[in-house]
């Protein structure tokens, strides 16, 4: 192991890690919004939107991110929409993540039994009050593990960004391997940086799960 090499290229890696993290978090935030919207559409079976959302979810979940990125990156300019690597990466991640988040939130919503809603109605609560005070808090607790798993999954998926020439961790690693053939050091750095990003997220997930565990369990 050549430590000097590792130290020399740390700054470049930090820059790449920062890019990975920034685009990843932006994509996750958008995924969450898309997911909330789609989950609500499916939970309340909103006409017209309901089948469209299902089609989106199936397409998004059953195609690889790499292909989705190529479609956006090379496809959109063909129909006159200019793309740049960064927004393309975020768009691709959101397109993929939206469906995973939708399913995570939907399973949370559907875990709250219908009779809980009835119990709230029997107390005179409106639909909105029932959603806010009764359904959402319980659904959130159930959704957290799946949500955190999705966050980690999406952060890892950012490694595909290098395919549309984003200077992320993976791209930097491949680039440097190509230049200096220091494969071991480069791959070591790559793994280390992904761990540095993902371990805290994973830990946060565990803490959140523990704190929320009881909220949804048992009447």
């Amino acid at each position: 192991m050549n430590w000097e090499f590792i130290i020399k290229y740390l700054p470049l890696n930090r820059k790449a890690a920062w890019l990975t993290l920034r685009l990843g978090l932006l994509g996750i935030a958008l995924s969450t919004l898309i997911g909330l919207f789609c989950a609500a559409v499916r939970y309340y079976r909103i006409p017209v939107l309901h089948p469209l959302v299902r089609v989106y979810i199936e397409i998004s979940r059953n195609t690889p991110l790499l292909i989705q990125l190529f479609f956006i990156y090379y496809g959109l300019p063909k129909i006159g929409i200019p793309t740049d690597p960064a927004s393309c990466g975020v768009a691709g991640l959101s397109f993929l993540g939206g469906s995973y988040m939708a399913e995570a939130f939907r399973s949370g919503l559907e875990s709250v039994e219908a009779i809980q809603t009835e119990s709230a109605y029997a107390l005179g609560m409106s639909r909105f009050q029932t959603l806010r005070f009764i359904i959402l808090p319980q659904a959130a607790a159930v959704s957290v593990p799946a949500f955190m798993a999705n966050v980690i999954f999406l952060l890892k998926e950012t490694s595909v960004f290098s395919a549309v020439s984003l200077m992320d961790l993976m791209f930097t690693a491949k680039d440097l391997i190509g230049l200096y053939y220091k494969t071991t050091e480069r791959l070591f750095l790559l793994v280390a940086f992904y761990l540095v990003i993902l371990l805290p997220v994973s830990l946060l997930g565990t803490v959140l799960e523990r704190r929320l565990r009881y909220a949804g369990s048992g009447t």
Binding site: I115, Q116, E118, S119, A120, Y121, A122, L123, G124, M125, S126, Q129, F133, I134, P137, Q138, A141, Y214, A215, G216, S217, G218, T219
Partner: protein, 249 residues
Amino acid sequence: MNESILSVEHLTKRYGENTILEDVSFSVARGEVIVIVGPSGCGKSTLLRCLNALEPIQGGEIRLDGETVDSGAKDLTRLRQRIGMVFQSYELFPHMSVLNNILIAPVQVQKRDREEVKAEALELLERVGLSAKKDAYPRELSGGQKQRVAIVRALCMHPEVLLFDEVTAALDPEMVREVLDVILDLAREGKTMLIVTHEMSFARAIADRVFFLDNGGIVEQGKPADFFDHPQTERARQFLRTFEFESVK
């Protein structure tokens, strides 16, 4: 008898092709305790659920103090506040403490002062022997305790009519008593109640009138002594026999 508070006329309830209740009519006087008995699947619970519009009805009319209870009504939430309901499976909100379970609706729905409702809630909890559990979560309570909290939760809304849907059916035998005692206490206070139950001796003790429901209709009704000792119809006799055992020795 006092004035009528709840009246049901020609109520019909169907699920698709299945008729659950057909042409059911009755009225309940203020302060009256009605016990509804009948074989399972006869529509007892459905009848209660229609009364606070948890189930839409396909025919007839339900009126609470002259106002129509209609599952499509705009002021449905206001009507429901006047009809309390306690479920077989308690349905406490698992993410809230006992006190918050009780306070949420009076404070959020009726916009009453939190401190005032809290004082009332604590007093009621004291009465059902659960003041020590006010900060506990539902998962920490026994079935009987949960059900007593559910009753207090319904009471804090000051409902004019209380519906009890087989509230002891999910309880261990030794917990049934503590819940029934609370309900007996409410009867003494003069609360208007409709109670669906399989506890026949309780029904006999608490009811002003017993309805025997079978095949979607009220087959027989009367004072508990008359109904239990001298049932008029063969179906009622048959039903009551299922609660008796022949000696085997």
